[in-house]
């Protein structure tokens, strides 16, 4: 993907560009809001990583100007302002997701992937299928290799979220926000426990595991290679 990074701090920008390039993306960098807007309007990017506090033109103004020009390019807002109301302001201004500094590069990659793939995901599709695991979203029915699996409501919601993001890295924070709508760090390993309970039902032997733990990043539900 071709990604525009708008960030004025050189160290963070360098770290971002390096991380994104290593993940296989093509990266352009703008150090202030005006240049960023100029790039974003003039060239075709797949996504923008946008810092909120920028010289010349702040991130939210730049985003508003971009959206006013009719662009629907996915934007991930980065900010040191982590409060809930700041997050809501960012999303209202037209951001697709909001990530609080400091962040892990894996979290950023996972979220970037999620917002750029969002348009392609069959969100309204009734049946989701990965390998021999399928769910019927109308009937809340889960089957693996034809066998019906009984899940508790929360387990079902976690699985549904994982299936919608099949093949993508899903971080703990993304699960907290996407499944429970929690925007805080619960300071416990409760998400991991939820995942391990889900796995004990969906991935029990002799089935081939579909849900994988990615160290330092999160989880990924994908077809066996």
């Amino acid at each position: 993907m071709r990604i525009l990074v708008v960030e004025d701090d050189n160290d963070i920008a360098g770290f971002l560009c390096k991380g994104l390039r290593e993940a296989g993306h093509v990266v352009d960098h703008a150090a202030d809001g005006r240049t960023g807007l100029f790039f974003a309007v003039g060239e075709a990017f797949d996504a923008i990583v946008l810092d909120r506090l920028l010289p010349q033109m702040d991130g939210l103004s730049m985003l508003a100007a971009l959206r006013a020009s009719g662009s629907r390019i996915p934007v991930l807002i980065l900010s040191a302002l982590g409060q809930v109301d700041e997050r809501i302001k960012g999303l209202r201004a037209g951001g697709d997701d909001y990530l609080v500094k400091p962040f892990a590069i894996n979290e950023l990659l996972a979220r970037l992937e999620a917002i750029t793939r969002r348009g392609l995901m069959p969100v309204l599709e009734n049946r989701l299928r990965v390998a021999d695991l399928e769910i019927d979203r109308m009937a809340h029915l889960v089957k693996r290799a034809g066998e019906v699996i009984t899940l508790k409501p929360q387990e079902y919601r976690v699985l549904e979220f994982m299936m919608r993001h099949a093949g993508q890295v899903v971080t703990r924070t993304m699960l907290l926000e996407g499944v429970w709508d929690y925007h805080f760090d619960p300071q416990t390993n409760v998400v991991d426990v939820h995942l391990s309970r889900l796995r004990s039902k969906v991935d029990k032997s002799p089935w081939i595991p579909l849900i994988h733990t990615l160290r330092g990043a999160g989880y990924c539900l994908r077809e066996p290679q």
Binding site: V84, P102, Y182, H183, P186, Q187, V190, R197
Partner: protein
């Protein structure tokens, strides 16, 4: 010092001035009344004298009356000016001590006044005349010398007593005011001592129970409260310094060691992860402290929405349930539905998750954790009770301090900010949190108040 004296002087002078004005008014009234009474009395005496003379005339004729007039003139003391004149119908002098009829303006039986000739400028003479049967007429006049004397006496007495009153009132006022203001000086002195660094000094208690004692008591309890706050801030600062310094020190030590002996390629992964974990802990502590500060600022009240409390509680309990199941604990949830509460949904959820998670964390396996939620007047009550080790009564206030951790909990994961945040969130909702003994365990009761409640 000067302001205390000036207060005393001001009160004293004001008191004296008030007294002088009152005393002056009283004096004026007394003099006016005495004057009126005495002048009236002189007039009556003149009238009575005339009547006596007329009666004498009727009894003994003109000679008898003349004899009486002569006798009166002779017995008049030199201090008095008493006038008699008897004249016939043609105005010819018959007897008395007045050579000429003084004034022709006034008719018979009419009182009038003229300046005294014997004591010019000192007094007036009250006069009156009557016609006798044979056409002659008699004039009688008495001086008002006594009125002037009494008036002077009263004025003199008044001046002396006013002086005495002013002297007494100023002395007494000064002493009384100074005595009354002495506690103020005591309070000022105590405040000065505290400012000079003796934070334990208190305003001395007196047994009177008056306004100043109550003021002193209030100030003392305010000082106690400030002391507690200072101690708590100091404790929190120490804890913050400790909680931030330890991971940073570990981090620094590891980096320094790596300079001398770089980690081998197969150690590098674990080495880096440990460093990141330490930094994450520091960042997380900062994040939590900032969040508590922002909740305590109260600004988040602008984001209040109608919250369905039972739904939030159910949500939090379900979220934590897998952790309880791992420890074979039972989450016993009982609720009564009720009206929604104006509150901050995200923070309330965080609070509930925090409380239930804590209960699961600190309660032993195979126990029951009670969670209750029910509406009450003006808000909601939420109870989370476990059968764990509980918190000693002495520690129950301290666990709300930032980064304070019970010794027992230092071994378990957590930042020691959970209950501080819970308390801040409860405060944001104008509520109260009470920790009690659940015999055994801890029973947390939270009351949340609706915005209008």
């Amino acid at each position: 010092m000067s302001s205390r004296l000036s207060t005393t002087a001001r009160l004293t002078l004001a008191n004296a001035a008030l007294l002088a004005v009152g005393f002056g008014a009283l004096l004026f009234l007394v003099m006016w009344l005495a004057d009126r009474f005495m002048v009236g009395h002189v007039k009556e005496s003149v009238e009575a004298e005339l009547n006596i003379m007329l009666a004498e005339f009727r009894l003994d004729g003109i000679d008898g009356m003349l004899a009486l007039i002569d006798q009166r003139i002779q017995t008049t003391t030199p201090n008095h000016d008493r006038l008699y004149r008897l004249e016939d119908a043609q105005g010819k002098f018959i007897g008395g001590n007045v050579a000429a009829w003084p004034s022709s303006e006034f008719g018979a039986g009419q009182s009038f006044q003229l300046p005294s000739r014997k004591f010019p400028g000192k007094t007036m003479v009250d006069l009156r005349w009557e016609k006798l049967g044979d056409g002659s007429r008699l004039l009688v006049g008495f001086d008002e010398i006594e009125v002037a004397q009494v008036r002077g006496d009263i004025r003199l007495a008044a001046l002396w007593s006013l002086g005495a009153v002013l002297l007494i009132s100023m002395t007494a006022g000064f002493l009384l005011t100074r005595a009354a203001l002495r506690p103020v000086e005591a309070i000022r002195g105590a405040a000065q001592k505290i400012m000079d660094g003796d934070l334990r000094h208190r305003i001395p208690a007196r047994p009177n129970g008056d306004e100043f004692d109550r003021l002193g008591e209030t100030l003392n309890s305010m000082l106690d409260r400030i002391n507690t706050l200072i101690a708590s801030v100091r404790g929190a600062t120490d804890n913050i310094a400790h909680d931030l310094r330890s991971p940073l020190t570990r981090h620094r030590a590891r980096l320094e060691a790596a300079l001398k002996e770089p980690p081998t390629p197969d150690q590098l992964q674990a080495w880096t992860e440990r460093n990141i974990a330490d930094l994450d802990q520091v960042l997380s502590t900062f994040q939590s402290l900032l969040r508590i500060a922002s909740v305590e600022s109260g600004l988040l009240r602008e984001e209040f929405t109608a919250c369905d409390i039972p739904q939030l509680v159910r949500n939090a309990v379900e979220f934590i349930e897998p952790l309880a199941e791992e420890k074979h604990q039972q989450l016993d949830l009982q609720m009564i539905e009720g009206p929604s509460l104006q509150g901050h949904r995200d923070l309330l959820i965080q609070m509930l998750v925090n409380l239930v998670d804590n209960a699961v964390k600190f309660a032993p396996p195979d126990t029951v954790i009670e969670v209750r939620a029910f509406p009450e007047t003006g808000g909601w009550q939420i109870i989370v009770a476990d059968a764990g080790a509980g918190i000693a009564a002495a520690e129950r206030e301290r666990v709300f301090e930032r980064l304070y951790r019970l010794d027992a909990s230092r071994r378990t994961a957590g930042l020691g900010l959970g209950l501080s945040l819970v308390k801040a969130i409860v405060g944001l909702h104008r509520g109260q949190i009470v920790l009690a003994d659940n015999a055994p365990g801890l029973r947390i009761t939270i009351q949340l108040r609706d915005r209008d409640g």
